[in-house]
C-alpha cells in the first residue's frame, strides 16, 4: 500500500503547510536513509497541530521532531528504534499508525471481523427464512409445466 496510497498526508487547514520541511533543514547524506526518514515523518503526529503529521507541519515542534528523527537515523538507529524513542517520550499518541497491540487488536482486526459478522448475518438470515411451501394451485401449475417440458423434449425439433 505504501506507494498506492500511503503518500496521502494529513494536513490541517489552519496551520500553514506551505513552509514545512524548511529548506534550511539538512537532509541526510544517504538518499535511501532520507527517504526512510521522510516516510517515518508521515507516520508521526505533530503534537501541537490538529491532525497533521510532522512532515506536513511548519510548527516549531514538528521541526524539532524532524531534526531529532534525522539525528537518530544518522546515528545509526533504524526506524523502529526511532519510533520506540518517540513513543517513550510522547506516548502512542505520537504515532498516526497505531502499533498492533492488545488494545488495538479490535482496530486492526476490524476489517476481517466485521466482514465475517456481516456475511454471517446475511447467510443466517437466508437460512432462517426458507421459502414458503407451494400452494396446491402452484403445485398443479408446476406439474403441468414440467410435463409440458418433458413432452417438449421428447418431440424431435424440426
Amino acid at each position: 500500500m505504501k506507494h498506492l496510497l500511503a503518500r496521502l498526508m494529513l494536513v490541517a487547514a489552519f496551520a500553514l503547510p506551505a513552509h514545512a520541511v524548511d529548506v534550511d533543514e539538512v537532509p541526510l547524506d544517504d538518499p535511501a536513509k532520507e527517504a526512510e526518514a521522510r516516510d517515518l515523518m508521515k507516520e508521526v503526529r505533530c503534537l501541537v497541530c490538529q491532525n497533521q503529521s510532522i512532515e506536513d507541519s511548519d510548527a516549531d515542534l514538528a521541526r524539532d521532531l524532524r531534526v531529532i528523527i534525522r539525528e537518530r537515523m544518522a546515528a545509526g538507529d533504524d526506524t523502529d528504534q526511532v519510533k520506540a524513542y518517540l513513543v517513550e517520550r510522547y506516548g502512542d499518541w505520537v504515532l498516526l499508525k497505531p502499533p498492533v497491540a492488545g488494545r488495538t487488536l479490535i482496530l486492526w482486526g476490524s476489517p476481517v471481523l466485521i466482514l465475517l459478522l456481516v456475511a454471517a448475518g446475511l447467510l443466517l438470515r437466508r437460512r432462517a427464512a426458507p421459502p414458503p411451501p407451494l400452494s396446491a394451485e402452484e403445485e398443479a401449475k408446476l406439474k403441468a409445466l414440467l410435463e409440458a417440458a418433458e413432452a417438449d423434449e421428447k418431440e424431435p425439433r424440426g
Partner: protein, 657 residues
C-alpha cells in the same frame, strides 16, 4: 426587522413541523382523508417558512448587518459579495439553517413529485420527514439561534476565515448537504414501509431515484471538498482521512450499498430487510457526521464551532432517531416476507458481496474514527488512528470489491455462469495481467502495490467496456451493435459509466501517489529548478494587493526541453481580518498531469536578489480524480433519467387523470 421576521418564520416552521408530525398520522389512524391530505400542505408550508428565515439571514450577510451576532462574528464589509452570500452557511448557525432548508425542500419535493405514491404512504413519509425537521428546528431555536442580536452593534465584523473564502468551498457545503440530507428521504421511506409492514418492488422503485440523487450530490460534495484541499492547502494532497472527511465518506459508502441493494429489491423482491436497514444506517451516518462536525468531539480542522451543549443536544437527537428507527426495524423486519431465491453464482450474490464489502468498509471507517475515543474512555492512553490504518482497510476491502465489480454485471439473475463471464472478460484479465507484470518488471519489483493498483483500475475499465459491447452484441456486427447502443436502457449505460469512472479514479490515485515528483528549493529571481522533467524558472517576485488581502506573487516560467510550457503565478496571501496567511498554489493541468507551484517565505532580507522558498511539483494523472468522479456522477444522472423512472411517473399521471 427582517431578522425578526426570519426568527418568527422559524418559530412558525417549528409549529408546522410539530403539527405535520402529528396530524396526518392521526388522520391515518382515524381514516380521515382530510387530515391525511394535509401532509402535502404542511410540507410545502414548512419549506416556505424555512426559506423565509434563510433569506432573512442571507439578507443580514449581504447588507452586513452587524447587529446580528452571527454576521458580526463571521462577516466583514470588505468581503467580496460571493463570500458574503456564501458566508450565510459558512458558520455553525447558518449551516444548520441550510440543513433544515434542504430537509424541508426534500419533503416538499416528495410531496410534489411523489404524486404516484399512494396518499397514505406519502403522508407517512412526510410525517417522518417532519419529525426530523422538528428536531433540527428545535436544535436551532434552543441552542443556535442565528437571529440573535448584539447591542451595541459593532461597526465592523470579524471576517470569514480566509481559507473558506474560495469558490470551491462556497459550494462545497450546499452540495454535501444536498447529499447528506437527501438520504433522509430514503430513511423516511424505510420507516414508513416498516410502519406499513410492507416492502414491495414498487417501494424500491420509488426509493432508488431519491437515493441516487442524494448519492450524486454526496459524490459531488466530497469531490468539491477534495478539489478545494488540493489547490488551496498548498500540498497537492486531496484526502487526509480527517474525521470530518470520514463523516462524509461513511454515508457515501452506505448510500452506494443502498443503491445496489435497492436494485435487488426492485428486480428480484429479495434482500428487503437488509435494504431497509441500509436506508436507516445511511441517514444515521449523515446525522453522526453532523454530530461529529458540530460538536467538536473529535478535534478536527472542520469543527469550527466547538460547544458541548450543542453536542449533547445533537447526540440526544441522534440517539433518539437511530434508537427509535432501529427498534422499529427489530420489531418489524422479521415479518417482512422473504423474496426470490438465488444461487451462489448470480447477479444477486455479486450485489450482496458488494454490499458486504461496502458496509464493512463503512463500519471500519467508523471504528477507526472513533477508536481513539474508545481507548481513552476505557482509561487507556491517547492513541492516534491516521491515514496508514485507513489505507490498509481500503486495500483489504476495496480490492475484492473492484474485482467483483468487473464480474458482477455479467452474471445473470438467479443463476449465473462464471465460465461465461470469464470468457467475456478474458481480454480485461489479460490487460490487467500484462500491465501488472510489465510494471513490476520495469520497476525491478519496486512498485508491486502500484502495479496492483494499475491492474485493478484497468481491469475495471476494460470489464465495464466489454460488458456494454457484449450487451449490444458489438462483435457480431459493429454497425447493428452501435444502433443497439442508443436503445440500451440508460440505467445500463449509467452503470457502465459509473464503474468506468471508479476505474479511472483508481488509476489516478495509483499513478499520482506513486509518481509525483516534488522539489523543495530556494531560488532567487533568474534561477531554475527541476521537477518531473520540467524546468521551473523564477522570473520575478512582486507584491500585489487584493480586495481584502495583500500578497506576494511569484512568476515562474515552466519549460520542457527549452520550450515554454506555461507561466505559473503562485501567491502567498496575508489577510487582514482575521489576520491569517493562505497559500494560493498555481496549478496548470496538462494532459499527463498537473504542474503545481507554491511560494513560501523569503529567506533572508528581501532585496532585489531576495531568495524565496518554493515547492514545485509535477503530479501525474491528477485530473483523473476529477474526471473519474465526474464520470461516476454522470453515470448516476444517466441512470436517474432511465425509462423506468419516467414510465412510473407517466403511468401515475394517467391514473390520476
Amino acid at each position: 426587522m427582517i431578522a425578526e421576521a426570519g426568527h418568527f418564520a422559524l418559530v412558525i416552521a417549528t409549529i408546522l413541523a410539530l403539527m405535520a408530525g402529528i396530524v396526518p398520522p392521526v388522520g391515518l389512524k382515524r381514516r380521515d382523508m382530510g387530515l391525511i391530505a394535509l401532509a402535502d400542505s404542511f410540507a410545502v408550508a414548512q419549506f416556505l417558512m424555512v426559506a423565509i428565515a434563510f433569506a432573512a439571514l442571507m439578507h443580514g450577510f449581504i447588507v452586513s448587518d452587524f447587529s446580528l451576532k452571527v454576521v458580526a462574528a463571521n462577516s466583514h464589509t470588505a468581503k467580496p459579495m460571493l463570500y458574503k452570500v456564501a458566508g450565510t452557511w459558512g458558520n455553525h448557525e447558518g449551516s444548520l439553517l441550510l440543513w433544515v432548508l434542504i430537509l424541508t425542500l426534500f419533503a416538499s419535493l416528495v410531496s410534489l413529485f411523489g404524486r404516484n405514491l399512494p396518499l397514505t404512504f406519502r403522508a407517512r413519509v412526510l410525517s417522518v420527514q417532519a419529525l426530523l425537521s422538528l428536531g433540527f428546528l428545535l436544535f436551532i431555536l434552543v441552542t443556535s439561534n442565528p437571529f440573535e442580536r448584539l447591542s451595541p452593534a459593532p461597526l465592523e465584523g470579524n471576517g470569514l476565515n480566509p481559507l473558506l473564502q474560495d469558490p470551491g468551498l462556497a459550494f462545497h457545503p450546499p452540495m454535501l448537504y444536498l447529499g447528506y440530507v437527501g438520504l433522509s428521504v430514503a430513511f423516511s421511506f424505510a420507516v414508513a414501509a416498516l410502519i406499513e409492514r410492507e416492502v414491495t418492488p414498487m417501494w424500491a422503485r420509488w426509493v432508488r431515484p431519491w437515493t441516487l440523487a442524494a448519492w450524486i450530490f454526496l459524490t459531488g460534495g466530497i469531490a468539491l471538498g477534495s478539489w478545494w484541499a488540493y489547490y488551496e492547502l498548498g500540498w497537492g494532497g486531496w484526502w487526509f482521512w480527517d474525521p470530518v472527511e470520514n463523516a462524509s465518506f461513511m454515508p457515501w459508502l452506505a448510500a452506494s450499498a443502498l443503491l445496489h441493494s435497492a436494485i435487488v429489491v426492485e428486480k428480484r423482491d429479495a434482500l428487503k430487510s437488509w435494504t431497509i436497514l441500509l436506508a436507516i444506517v445511511a441517514f444515521s451516518f449523515s446525522l453522526l457526521g453532523t454530530f461529529l462536525v458540530r460538536s467538536g468531539v473529535i478535534t478536527s480542522v472542520h469543527a469550527f464551532a466547538v460547544d458541548p451543549t450543542r453536542g449533547i443536544f445533537i447526540l440526544g437527537f441522534l440517539a433518539l432517531v437511530v434508537g427509535a428507527s432501529l427498534t422499529l426495524f427489530a420489531m418489524r423486519a422479521p415479518s417482512l416476507a422473504p423474496g426470490g431465491l438465488f444461487g451462489l453464482v448470480s447477479r444477486e450474490s455479486a450485489l450482496v458481496l458488494n454490499n458486504i464489502l461496502l458496509a464493512t468498509f463503512a463500519a471500519v471507517v467508523l471504528i477507526g474514527t472513533l477508536y481513539p475515543l474508545f481507548v481513552e474512555a476505557a482509561g487507556g492512553a491517547q492513541i492516534s488512528v491516521g491515514a496508514p490504518f485507513f489505507n490498509y482497510a481500503a486495500l483489504v476491502l476495496m480490492s475484492p470489491l473492484i474485482v467483483a465489480l468487473g464480474l458482477g454485471p455479467l452474471l445473470a439473475w438467479k443463476r449465473g455462469r462464471l465460465s461465461r463471464a470469464a470468457r467475456i472478460l478474458l481480454p480485461a484479465l489479460i490487460v490487467a495481467a500484462v500491465v501488472f507484470v510489465g510494471t513490476v518488471w520495469a520497476t525491478a519489483g519496486g512498485y508491486v502495490m502500484s502495479a496492483f493498483g494499475l491492474a485493478l483500475g484497468l481491469w475495471l475499465i476494460v470489464s465495464a467496456k466489454l460488458e456494454i459491447l457484449q450487451r449490444i452484441r458489438f462483435f457480431e456486427g459493429p454497425m447493428a451493435g452501435l444502433k443497439r447502443l442508443v436503445r440500451l436502457p440508460r440505467a445500463a449505460l449509467g452503470m457502465a459509466l459509473a464503474h468506468m469512472g471508479l476505474g479511472v479514479l483508481v488509476l489516478a490515485i495509483t499513478i499520482s501517489e506513486t509518481w509525483t515528483s516534488e522539489t523543495l528549493t530556494v531560488l532567487s529571481p533568474g534561477e531554475t529548478a527541476m521537477a518531473g522533467g520540467y524546468e521551473f524558472t523564477l522570473d520575478k517576485v512582486e507584491p500585489v494587493a487584493g480586495p481584502n488581502y495583500a500578497a506576494v506573487r511569484g512568476t515562474l516560467s515552466v519549460r520542457r526541453d527549452g520550450e515554454l510550457v506555461t507561466v505559473l503565478t503562485p501567491e502567498d496571501r496575508t489577510f487582514g481580518d482575521p489576520v491569517m496567511e493562505t497559500t494560493e498554489a498555481a496549478i496548470r493541468p496538462l494532459v499527463t498531469g498537473d504542474l503545481y507551484a507554491v511560494i513560501g517565505e523569503a529567506i533572508g532580507p528581501v532585496a532585489a536578489d531576495g531568495r524565496w522558498s518554493l515547492r514545485l511539483y509535477f503530479k501525474p494523472a491528477i485530473s483523473g480524480l476529477w474526471l473519474g468522479t465526474l464520470m461516476m456522477m454522470a453515470g448516476g444522472l444517466l441512470s436517474l433519467t432511465d425509462r423506468r423512472a419516467r414510465v412510473g411517473a407517466a403511468a401515475a399521471r394517467e391514473k390520476a387523470a
